[in-house]
Amino acid sequence: MIEYWEPLIERMPVDELKAIQEEKLKSLVHYVYNHSPFYKKRFDEAGISPNDIQSLDDVRKLPFTTKQDLRDTYPTGMFCVPQEQVVRYHASSGTTGKPTVVGYTENDIKEWSTSLARGLTSIGIGRGDVVQIGYGYGLFTGGLGLHYGVEMVGASAIPSSSGNTERQIELMQDLGSTAMACTPSYFLYVNEVFKKLGISIANDTKLKCGIFGAEPWSEEMRRRIEEQTGIKAYDIFGTSEISGPLFTECIYQDGIHIWADQFLIEVIDPETGEQLADGERGELVVTTLAKEALPLIRYRIGDLTAIKSGPCKCGRTHPRIMRILGRTDDMIIIRGINVFPGQVEAVLMDIPEVGEHYQLVVDRENELDTLTVQVEVTEDVFSDKISDLMVLEKKVTKALQTVLNISARVELVEPGTIPRSMGKAQRVIDNRKI
């Protein structure tokens, strides 16, 4: 039987959902115009008045907002509420630029948790479950964000945060975790440590599913994880600027459900900014319909995906987005060809002889970009005949050439030599000085 957290909303007919979105959008534009000097200025400069927004379609008249806007107005220049109404702050680390700060009112936290409660329920997590949260706690939204959703559905949260793998395993066994939330690459590492200890996730834990996100991962990687550990691997999506982790797949694993009563999504052509039709791949743009402290209008997240409309097998009517291919800023350009690490992963994981850990190394030799794909040689496939290993190298090279049209040098490396990460895996080492 399919469980719902809020069945009436989750299965609401699409036209009713759209009516709700339209009402919320209309009041949102007045709200931000009146409460945030940033948006007032932005609207005025674009020659847009809140009254110009009369229908959902009118959303395309509104200007985009970007991460740069959040940086430029650091710390709270875009906020729509005074500090007294903010019950929590999160902040990005700012490793790649100025940090960004996101604030939440009491109601923002409630809406955030509700979004996750719907998602968690849709993958069968509720009272009686034990969810081990291996995302970082603190300024990063991953840990605390998911935590409140887990508590809302009545499951037990273990705030194990990231790192300390042997302790994670001990907690998983001793407290009987039924779900683990972390990055998919970290989960693979946890699985390796299980093997090293002579135990297995399938036989020695109660784990039934994983909630994996915070980095792009492929469908092929999902198959690997599920086959090797016997759990169901679910995708979770969100980004700190629009709250944190927010949306998940349901048990049918056919796209991530985006709650339309809370968020309005569009997919645009990243070059022209024009809206794309459902099913067409482009850049995801999100408008928050329910946020109070820091609402975002047409926020360009940078993730590349496509909208999947139409009801899901689970009965939910809200739009879904397809698996995230990567972010516009993850894209690497090799001799003029755009490559996403996720695409390379999909190719690699489709080759059974290739292990789950890989790394892309980009160099520039004599003014020419080179891509080296490092994969580990596991004992399962190791043949002591050099020719067999060369065949494997060629097979990977050819697959990358055929599917992605890139010529890469494939390098076989010893197992364990590609660094394991406790959080977001670093898949790309770009040595070019651009």
Binding site: T378, F382, M390
Partner: protein, 145 residues
């Protein structure tokens, strides 16, 4: 037939400084004696192949140290340590359509040399060699060298 097979240990290793040292150090501390050894190199990586006195133990020690290790059945062939010694063997193998994947050899103290080969069809090779009165060296004999 079983006692004619020699268990060879093969290790996948990147061509990086210190890999060989790490491997030999592990074997040394486990008191394992190397009887024959070769490195085949292919660009970024290589495969080290060795015949040791305690193959099982060597396999475990290296596996636990994180190396990619496999065990392969090979044949040890005695040949005369004189001109034409190898030719005699390769003629027998060639005329019987036995394909050699790889081979390495070393001289022994006794006017004889030891040739290690990996072939596709090992049982067929044993039969052919024995019918041609070529002596195969067993694991026990390797340990006595």
């Amino acid at each position: 037939m079983e006692n004619k097979l020699i268990k060879q240990i093969s290790i996948f290793a990147e061509n990086k400084a210190g890999r060989l040292e790490k491997i030999t150090e592990k074997l040394k501390s486990a008191n394992i004696n190397i009887r024959a050894f070769t490195i085949a190199e292919a660009g970024d990586f290589g495969v080290m192949r060795m015949v040791v006195d305690k193959p099982e133990q060597a396999h475990n020690v290296l596996h636990d140290a994180g190396f990619t290790v496999s065990e392969t059945d090979v044949l040890g062939i005695e040949m005369s340590d004189s001109p034409g010694g190898l030719h005699e063997i390769s003629t027998v193998l060639g005329s019987n359509d036995i394909n050699v994947d790889y081979a390495y050899a070393f001289a022994m103290a006794t006017q004889k040399a030891l040739l290690i080969i990996r072939v596709d069809n090992i049982n067929n090779a044993i039969e052919v060699l024995e019918n041609s009165d070529i002596r195969l060296i067993s694991m026990e004999e390797v340990n006595k060298i």
